[in-house]
Amino acid sequence: MERLHEPGPEERFLQTPGSRREKLYRQMRLIRRFEERLLRQFDEGDVSGTTHACIGQEADAVGVINHLRRGDVVFSNHRCHGHFLAFSDEPKLLAAEVLGRRSGVVGGRGGSQHICWESFYSNGIQGGIVPVSVGMALAEKFSGRQAMATVFLGDGTFGEGVIYEAFNMASLWSAPILFVVENNRWAQSTPVEKELAGDMVARATSFDIEAGQIASTDAEELYDHFQPLVAGVRESGRPRLEVIDTYRLCHHSKSDDKRPRQEVEEHRKDDPLPKLRARLDDSAAETIDEEVEERIEAAFSWALEQPMANDEELVDPLVEAAP
């Protein structure tokens, strides 16, 4: 496995100067502005395919990931920009990746749905990452490392049967894993009532997995909420599932939002960014905003200068990795 970047998210968070509030805001601002810039580049034709922004859900990423340590595994899904940035603090690499550049996180091969950076992974198939993450958690434990795993999934992903297989094994075998459910009440165009019968927390507890739920877009609240949960997984060596009730303020993937306009507008009052910004003093907030603006600008202009991905030779991985 790769050599690890130092320090891990928790250490980095603690070492960064400033109040906790400022730091959380800075991270969220970075995520938000990254995605807004990305969407602009999209409109300018620099991004091919599609992209899934997490606008409105940034507090989840910073609330959870800032408790993770060097070597802890994170597995994310299609909506991974926030998770990745909170974990890596590497907007340049992500910008280059989604812009299809050779210097992207995985050389442009994956796009943001399919990346790997140190112990951070993502994949674009709903559900399948959950057992994989359980295996990663178990491998860490088996190897005597102190690491744990965190996997992010959405409400819609509760449709996939393989996650229940994973819950069962995680519970039977005591995998140190935190299942973080970002319940934004929609799966693509489908409201949660049409996709999910019963209750997510009850589903987890029926596998003898401790589980809870919090309705919040408040980064500080989430940070506090997850601190003991992460510690609990680490100490007990047992799985835990936590549902965050949140809301996506943007489209599902680039430009496909048919949700009732009014519903979306109502949720704007819960936007995690103004919520936290209001608690900062204005000049601190402005400084952060400017600082973030510079980083985003730097990341994207760097990325846009990178050569397009176009490997000189396409080598068959079966041949390349053959014994």
Partner: protein, 348 residues
């Protein structure tokens, strides 16, 4: 601008649902106003509210549900949002739907249609761009049909849903949705004459100036058809090579006859598929052509296919690894340059 492939499919579904009340449509995000990821099902839930089932994200589960419905008399049409997700339903297709009829002593039919949009060239990356139908070829009991712009896709869908009693994979191509149908005008499509074998899922043969013999047979299906036709036109102009393009619609079971007939006229074969080469459709076509008209083959068949790597997200890389017109042109040149073994001396 003619009718698009998308419109043909959408119109087709509207009519099929109108004509037969047993038809139900099932898949992810199908309800209006969204109307499905690629809009093939747009309007259906408004017009036939009780018969469109938008599903949870449960590909195995809803393919299973649909196959149960099919056994009990309905005519379910399932949409797999991206064909890549078919792998989740593999057990349901291979070990359930495809087996039921024969293993139950021919007592049941499973008239299930599973639509799967395949293919890349849209920048969707490794898990949303694959051409996976090759892995479902050769499953006893499972039919595979792949549409293309030369035969009305909506009409093919109607046949699959209303006339076919077999579980059937209906392969679409994402890039093709926006393309116009290429209907024959006076028996011609562009500069080529077009012939159909008039099967339920017809095989089309395109040739310059009739079936009078040419230099090479190009077999292409689905998303590669347009590319093959463009390559044929270019080969004529640039190399004065006369290619016949044979376009099968039903991949499984596969009727090799139109291909074998063409090879008898041309002596050379190039197969095209968007998936990677190994163990793909081209291998089966080559083997079947050998079965039927080996003596007519003057050189080894050449297979055009993708590089054996996942479909990259970056457009430059994706373009490089998927087969394009240039690849077909080169393959044909290679097939033609291969020494003519029909005039060789004995071997061994």
């Amino acid at each position: 601008m003619g009718t698009s492939v998308l419109k043909s499919l959408n119109d087709g579904l509207h009519q099929i649902m109108g004509d037969d009340e047993r038809v139900v449509v099932m898949g992810e995000d199908l309800l209006d106003p969204y109307g499905g990821a690629f809009k093939v099902t747009r309007g259906l839930s408004t017009k036939y509210p009780g018969r469109v089932w938008t599903t949870p994200i449960s590909e195995a589960g809803f393919v299973g549900v649909a196959s149960g419905m099919a056994i009990r008399g309905l005519r379910p049409v399932v949409e797999i949002m991206f064909g890549d997700f078919l792998m989740l339903a593999a057990d349901q297709l291979v070990n359930h739907a495809a087996k039921f009829r024969w293993m139950y002593g021919d007592k049941v039919d499973v008239p299930l249609v599973v639509r799967a949009p395949m293919g890349g060239r849209r920048g969707y990356g490794p898990t949303h761009s694959q051409t996976l139908e090759k892995h479902f070829l050769g499953v006893p009991g499972l039919a595979v049909v792949a549409i293309h712009p030369l035969v009305e896709p909506g009409e093919l869908l109607r046949r699959a849903v209303l006339e076919d009693r077999r579980p059937l994979l209906f392969i679409e191509n994402k890039k093709m949705y926006a393309r116009s149908l290429r209907r024959a005008v006076n028996g011609q499509i562009g500069p080529m004459e077009v012939f159909s074998n008039d099967a339920v899922y017809p095989t089309m043969t395109l040739a310059f100036g009739g079936l009078v013999g040419g230099d090479v047979t190009i077999v292409a299906y689905g998303g590669m058809v347009e590319i093959a036709v463009a390559a044929a036109e270019r080969l004529l102009i640039e190399d004065e090579i006369y290619a016949e393009v044979v376009v099968p619609t039903e991949l499984q079971p596969f009727d090799v006859q139109p291909v074998a007939d063409s090879v008898r006229r041309t002596g050379r074969l190039v197969t095209c598929e968007e998936a990677s080469r190994a163990a793909g459709f081209g291998a089966e076509v080559s083997a079947r052509v050998c079965d039927e008209s080996f003596d007519a083959l003057r050189a080894a068949p050449v297979r055009v296919a993708a590089h054996p790597v996942p479909i990259a997200n970056a457009p430059t890389l994706e373009q490089k690894l998927l087969p394009d017109i240039e690849d077909v042109v080169s393959a044909v040149r290679m097939a033609i340059e291969r020494p003519d073994s029909s005039i060789r001396a004995g071997v061994g």
